[in-house]
């Protein structure tokens, strides 16, 4: 059934289709519409779930972890400072092996206050052990909500689905949605590995000494690695039932491409337009869309970028003093190739600044003008260029 939905509401519909039983959430711009629609769905009975209106995001995460421990499929949504407040409990969800799903609407971190998009909130949670999936369209947002539960419950790790503030969260698109009945074949009811059951009393999370803790972390790492195949299968199964798939990464016009742009989130859509225009002019340029930060699809990245002559990574985030975070990840993934491919790292769009086709044209021009990057990091559009980092 086709509906015109903003990205936030696409998530709410995805949660309904996923047969979620417990929601705990706290409002924060630009996430709030997700939980507003969910509370309406709960109030009307359209979504037979318990909605706990907690007093903070920290409590939201603690509550959904508790609900999952009791054996119920659970959901929360947040953004920026809310995500950062949750940080301790993000680790808790992983260590406790609770397959909760959360939507994070990418929003810049203050101070100064800023409600617009960038990725530093979610990327700074990289090593908590959450899977992270970045979305480009509202359809992808809806579909990924169901993927997220499939993957989370199979590998028994939490999944964060991530979308850009306003460019997706508040932008309406046509989305093909379905209700819970149609989702059941893809996503059967939650069968927890273990849960708090008075007839089988067990302690969850008791003090664990170095002789065992180490192996528990090893198992998380193994399951996170396994999640790549699980995610691939979840994508294929979804395609078989509903006719849409996304891959772990998406290649766009990379056949014969000398230069490959690397993007994530909504910048991808803008970059597609620029690539089409450049292709018209005969330039051999393509695009790699990164969908997953964790687990990181290293082999796919090597397969696509290993063929390129030049790589241009666009980061809507900054790892202060080392450049964009996606670029860092990509460089690490390329290392086993033992081959130097010039990699240009562009910072753009932080704090919600527009990444227009013009910005991407500039990026493509810079990468095209020289054989090797002349800077470690190119901050595009810095108003005083003296502020831009130069190669030392």
């Amino acid at each position: 059934m086709k509906k015109v939905l903003e990205g936030n509401h696409a998530i709410s519909w995805g949660v309904q289709a996923s047969d979620v039983k417990v929601i705990a959430a706290y409002p924060i711009t630009p996430q709030t519409q997700i939980v507003e629609l969910l509370s309406e769905m709960c109030a009307s009975g359209a979504l037979p779930a318990r909605y706990i209106k907690v007093e903070s995001e920290h409590s939201a995460m603690a509550a959904v972890i508790g609900a999952a421990a009791a054996g119920a499929r659970s959901f929360t949504a947040t953004s920026s400072h809310g995500l950062l407040l949750m940080h301790e409990m993000l680790h808790w969800a992983v260590g406790a092996r609770m397959p909760v799903v959360m939507a994070n609407v990418n929003r810049a971190v203050g101070p100064p206050w800023n409600i617009w998009t960038d990725q530093n909130d979610s990327l700074s949670q990289r090593d908590t052990g959450w899977l992270q999936i970045y979305c480009e369209s509202n359809q992808e947002v809806f579909d990924t909500t169901l993927h997220a539960y499939r993957i989370a419950e199979e590998v028994v790790l939490p999944v964060m689905l991530v979308l850009d503030a306003f460019f997706l969260s508040h932008t309406s698109e046509v989305v093909d949605v379905f209700r819970v009945e149609e989702g059941r074949e893809y996503l059967p009811p939650f069968k927890p590995v273990d849960f708090l059951d008075p007839t089988r009393p067990k302690a969850f999370g008791n003090l664990t000494a170095p002789d065992l803790y180490y192996e528990l972390r090893y198992k998380i790492d193994q399951d996170m690695r396994r999640a790549l195949d699980v995610a691939r299968q979840a994508d294929e199964d979804f395609y078989r039932l509903y006719g849409r798939r996304y891959g772990l990464v998406e290649e766009y016009r990379t056949e014969d491409a000398d230069t490959v742009l690397v993007t994530s989130g909504t910048v991808t859509s803008t970059a597609r337009v620029v690539i089409d225009a450049r292709r018209e002019r005969g330039e051999r340029i393509g695009l790699l869309k990164m969908r997953m930060l964790r687990p990181f699809p290293e082999e796919d990245v090597r397969r696509v970028l290993g063929r390129a002559q030049k790589i241009a990574v666009i980061d809507r985030n900054i790892g202060f003093s080392v450049g964009g975070i996606w670029a860092q990840e990509i460089k690490a993934a390329l290392w086993p190739l033992r081959r130097h491919i010039p990699l240009f790292n562009f910072i753009a769009g932080i704090g919600g600044r527009d990444v227009t086709p013009g910005v991407i044209e500039e990026i493509v021009d810079i990468a095209g003008a020289v054989d090797q990057p002349e800077r470690d990091v190119y901050w595009i559009g810095v108003k005083d260029d003296e502020l831009s980092y130069t190669r030392s």
Partner: protein, 297 residues
């Protein structure tokens, strides 16, 4: 109470890791006797996070979910919701937290749960300091007490936070105080809480020989003296308004309680007189809240 039967079933095993004479360990034993096997326990960081034993052991025969320090109220809310949505509305959800996790770092989550009137029992076993980390003051530490962060000659300078009034201000259906010196009373209160719907808050006095510098064998006696000296009155509050104070208990001066603990060793006569004055005036205020015709226990 006459002919009161304390259940024989032990839901807590002897193989726990508590210090000798731990009031918190005894409190757990009686709480579980009252609540029975259909209980799920939420435990934030506190002494009990260690007392329960290292993985793969557990000292209690009900499920335990260890959670972060400040999340007893919120994790318990989630577990309640999860159990309810699985169709299990009968199992009692018990949050079992220390004074640090209740008066200090967990107060926000507890307040949230109480405001939503979550159907849980929240028990605070109060040993009046951060004992698990080695005796640092909390906002539950009484005025005049020594701790490692309120060392001589600067003992705790502020009075103990009044958690009872904070919880009463939430209008929760049931609040009670209890100690292991009166196990029949304690069990009756946990049972009453189990039968009620909504947030039930039980404040359990839990002497800590390690932190209070008191002999382990004196834990029960100190619990009784705290009640008799009215430093820790036994009472119930219904709906945040109706107070029922247990008055038929022999009255003793606070000095009888204070003088038995090393943590109060440096108190002067003047300071003890000041504590006595505060206790007397608080007792009067409790009786006023109960009102003239108030029910007697």
């Amino acid at each position: 109470m006459t002919n009161f039967h304390i259940p024989e079933a032990e839901l807590m095993s002897s193989g726990h890791l508590a210090c000798q004479g731990c009031g918190g360990a005894n409190a757990m034993r009686f709480a579980l006797k009252a609540l029975g096997e259909k209980t799920v326990m939420v435990m934030p960081a506190c002494c009990w996070a260690v007392i329960n034993g290292p993985f793969p052991h557990t000292a209690v025969t009900v499920p335990v979910f260890q959670t972060a320090f400040e999340t007893a109220g919120s994790a318990a809310s989630g577990i309640r919701a999860g159990l309810d949505m699985r169709g299990d509305t009968e199992t009692t959800v018990l949050a079992w937290a220390g004074d640090g996790g209740t008066f200090d770092i967990g107060l926000q989550a507890l307040s949230g749960a109480a405001e939503r009137n979550e159907n849980i029992i929240y028990a605070c076993y109060d040993n009046e300091a951060y004992m698990n980390t080695g005796i640092q003051r909390s906002s539950a530490t009484p005025v005049g007490a020594w701790t490692t962060t309120t060392p001589h000659p600067h003992p705790k300078s502020h009075p103990k936070k009044r958690i009872l009034e904070i919880m009463a201000a939430h209008g929760v259906p049931y609040i009670a105080t209890a100690t292991i010196a009166y196990p029949d009373d304690m069990i009756a209160k946990f049972r009453k809480a189990k039968e009620m719907v909504g947030t039930k808050f039980i404040h359990v006095f839990a002497p800590c020989p390690t932190g209070w510098k008191s002999p382990p064998e004196m834990t029960i006696e100190l619990s009784r003296l705290a009640v008799q000296s009215r430093l820790f009155p036994l009472l119930e509050v219904f709906d945040g308004r109706r107070y029922v104070v247990q008055k038929d208990i022999p009255h003793k001066p606070v000095s009888a309680y204070l003088e038995k603990q090393g943590r109060f060793r440096k108190l002067t006569e003047e300071q003890i007189a000041g504590i006595q004055k505060d206790v007397d005036s608080y007792w009067e205020s409790l009786l006023e809240r109960e009102g003239p015709g108030g029910p007697s226990s």
